[in-house]
Symmetry: C2
Subunit: 231 residues, 2 copies
């Protein structure tokens, strides 16, 4: 085992993006689950449209918006699509909750074990730096994550190779010696294409994407990271 | 009005991708609508992942697969996701139907009117050349479409600027003198960013994307194309 660092995706992997459903349900009774699913889908959609429509410039896409703004736009689209009233106080409440998403239950323990082993830990996320900083601290992960890397400075979202390449600016290790961990199948695929060793945390028991290579490892929750080091 | 050519998206715009739902319902009772929606979503997903993960090479993405193969992979994913039996004869039947999708009712009349006015007509599609050729002929559009342009030769899908740029290799007109017509909000957005004059045919009465510029025109079906020329 030559893995020198574990790099985690943030949204969906460390932080539960669907945990927002409870507040959404309270604000819009009967629609909470549907809101959280479409909100997430549109958020991902928008990162792709922006990066794909203008991927070539050295200074990043001219259509770039921060992930925070995209998240807000995706919420507004979702409420309009479901013909729900986007009351400013509701939007603010949902965005405020998004800033402090619930982490998955097993995550702190896994991060603690990695630190005890002396493994470098990092986040690589589409999220804006401020979002990530708030999420990490409110989840009590500040001392457990060595580097928080946002794609924001290069204005290109994952799965563009430049986004994954940011890891090398911070962590001097070969691609295959970095374990990239994501619960998002598309992210695990993009990272595998990029050349990282990869773990797909398949929390929802979904089939893997029907294109491209499979990730190096698959598991049902984040504890699978530790198994990778134990075998 | 200086529009010299009308360029149509194919899938969702000229051809009804959800018309496949009836056959899907027959093969998988109770699941037809869900299959056609997820199948379409995954198909679009895969075009984006492939192009976004490797957009820079002069010869196109090394991860490129034809739209036909992507469509098949997206169907296999969909059936697995819903835990349905992907019997080869069912898959073949659905793919066969996909090759000959139903055109929307008003489309032939609109294309005929454009031809009578001497307007150049074209398709620009992510679809493979063979798929497009079969779809155009089985819809009776062969004499009504002057140019069928597939992104296949450049191995990059829409909304990459290279894909929209293919139009210029065939139709010598300025961007703003080309009316690009799509029922897909993301495609209308990508084409607007590219610089075409655009019409979004909002067949499903959806909100427009909450990022980027609005298209030049919006309408409920393809007859809106003729209104653009009449005002």
């Amino acid at each position: 085992m030559s893995i020198q660092a574990v790099v985690f995706d943030a949204y969906g992997t460390l932080f539960d993006v669907y945990s927002i459903g409870a507040l959404a349900e309270q604000l819009y009774p009967g629609q909470g689950a549907a809101i959280s699913v479409l909100w997430r889908d549109k958020q991902i959609d928008y990162t792709r449209l922006i990066t794909m429509s203008d991927p070539h410039r050295a200074e990043g896409s001219r259509y770039y918006q921060s992930f925070w703004n995209i998240t807000r736009s995706a919420l507004l689209y979702t409420l309009e699509r479901f013909k729900l009233d986007a009351k400013p106080e509701h939007v603010d409440a949902l965005m405020g909750q998004y800033a402090k998403l619930t982490p998955f239950a097993e995550n702190l323990g896994v991060l603690q074990s990695l630190k005890e082993r002396g493994i470098t830990t990092a986040i690589l996320s589409n999220g804006s730096p401020e979002m990530l900083s708030t999420a990490v601290s409110s989840a009590g992960m500040t001392d457990l994550i060595d580097h928080v890397i946002s794609v924001d400075p290069i204005r290109l979202f994952k799965t563009s190779p430049e986004a994954y390449g940011l890891v090398h600016q911070t962590i001097p290790a070969e691609k295959q010696d970095i374990l990239f961990v994501s619960s998002n199948g598309w992210d695990a695929l993009g990272a595998t294409w990029f050349g990282f060793t990869t773990l797909w945390v398949n929390r929802q028991q979904l089939p893997f994407e029907a294109i491209g290579p499979h990730p190096s490892y698959t598991g049902h929750d984040l504890t699978r990271v530790l198994d990778v080091f134990n075998h």
